[in-house]
Amino acid sequence: MRLVILDRDGVINEDSDAYIKSPDEWQAIPGSLEAIARLVHADFHVVVATNQSGIARGLFNVDMLNRIHSRMIDEIHHKGGEIDAIFFCPHGPDDHCRCRKPNIGLFEEIATRLKTNLSGTYAVGDSLRDIVAARAAQAIPVLVKTGKGSSTLTKTSGLDSVAVFDDLAAFTSALLGGGLAVTP
């Protein structure tokens, strides 16, 4: 299965320290929606794996998250793209869950639901959490400099073996242009 796993905040849409609490606050990063469309047209399935601790923190509820995601999906459709599924973790840091990245749970769920194994699958994120979770799930981590990506890059060493791109659009061009090994 040709699959790409995307983090949401800082990869598809602009991140905010104040959390994305309503559809209006959701603003796509330039080029990210088109990139998703290009992936889909090249026969990739695209899924989202996102920590949404704002729910545990009481900043918004699942209904609101669904409305935010409706807007995201609308905008993606508008550009000719498609998302197969959104996997989110609603917990906070003190809930000791297995799904909050850097934990592996969301990725395990993706593998189970899509009946695939993730080795050879690219997982694009902007933070160390994303990289650790991807690695632990045997996926291939990719870091983008959008969102927290630039500061992740300067703050963390040991990322030498992780591919880094300016943004999702640049990663997509590399993947589709054969600049990365394509998944089977």
Binding site: H96, P102, V132, A133, R135, A136, Q138, T156, S157, G158
Partner: protein, 238 residues
């Protein structure tokens, strides 16, 4: 159930498992080391499973693809008892470098002795380094990976000890790579803590460090930098 009761339950099972496994391992003295080790590591696997059941503390491993196919020197952060248990299952057949006093513990120590550790006398520094290099090369030739905690002892979360050179010297002498490993076990199971915090421990295995053309000090510095930086980052995530 309170955390105290959970930790107590874990402790009871832990001690009982030693009482069960150690005699079995001792009775297998006639086996070759690696087959015997495959029995020993089941104990590590049991204790880590028991920890998950009783205290809700599980783990995940990132970077398994970095483990070389042939034996190497594994340098790891040491924060708690946890890694000595979990690593038995995570890494291929290996031996530890440990202080020889550990082998004097009834049952546990005797069983450990049969895992062929490199047991050093810490007070005799000079001899200890020679022994790590001599015995380490032999064990590597026998197909065992070598696990060394270069800080020498368990270090509390947020702290880092001086990285001793022994492991890097062994790797250079044996011309095998150094595999750096970081984790955040200390955030869940402290150095002498009885209580455990539920959650998921992250172990991250870094890219192997080649020794060719480097002296032990350079190899050690590279490993130290990667391990301390990655540990700091993991502690922030815990």
């Amino acid at each position: 159930m309170t955390r105290i009761a959970r930790a107590a339950l874990f402790q009871v099972g832990f001690v009982a498992s030693i009482a069960v496994w150690a005699p079995v391992v001792l009775a297998l003295f006639w086996l070759k080391p690696i087959p015997r080790y495959l029995v020993i590591r089941q104990w590590g696997r049991f204790t880590v499973w028991w920890l998950k059941i009783t205290c809700g503390l599980s783990y995940q491993v990132a970077g398994r693809e970095h483990i070389p196919k042939t034996p190497c020197v594994i340098l790891s952060k040491h924060q708690s008892t946890w890694e000595t248990l979990a690593y038995q299952w995570i890494f291929p057949p290996h031996v530890w470098v440990l202080k020889r006093e550990l082998l004097w513990i009834p049952l546990l120590g005797w069983g450990m002795a049969l895992s062929q550790p490199i047991a050093i006398a810490r007070e005799q520094k000079r001899r200890a380094i020679d022994q790590v290099i001599r015995d380490g090369k032999k064990r590597l030739r026998d197909g065992r990976y070598i696990i060394i905690f270069p800080e020498g002892t368990r270090v509390a979360r947020g702290e880092h000890g001086r990285f001793k050179l022994g492991g890097a010297r062994l790797a250079c002498a044996a011309a095998c790579p150094v595999l750096p490993v970081a984790h955040n076990a200390g955030c869940f199971w402290g150095r002498r803590a009885f209580l455990k915090r539920p959650g998921v421990i992250s172990v991250v295995i870094g890219p192997p460090i080649a020794v060719e053309g480097k002296d032990p000090a350079a190899v050690n510095t590279l490993a130290e930098r990667w391990i301390t930086d990655t540990t700091d980052a993991l502690e922030k995530l815990a």
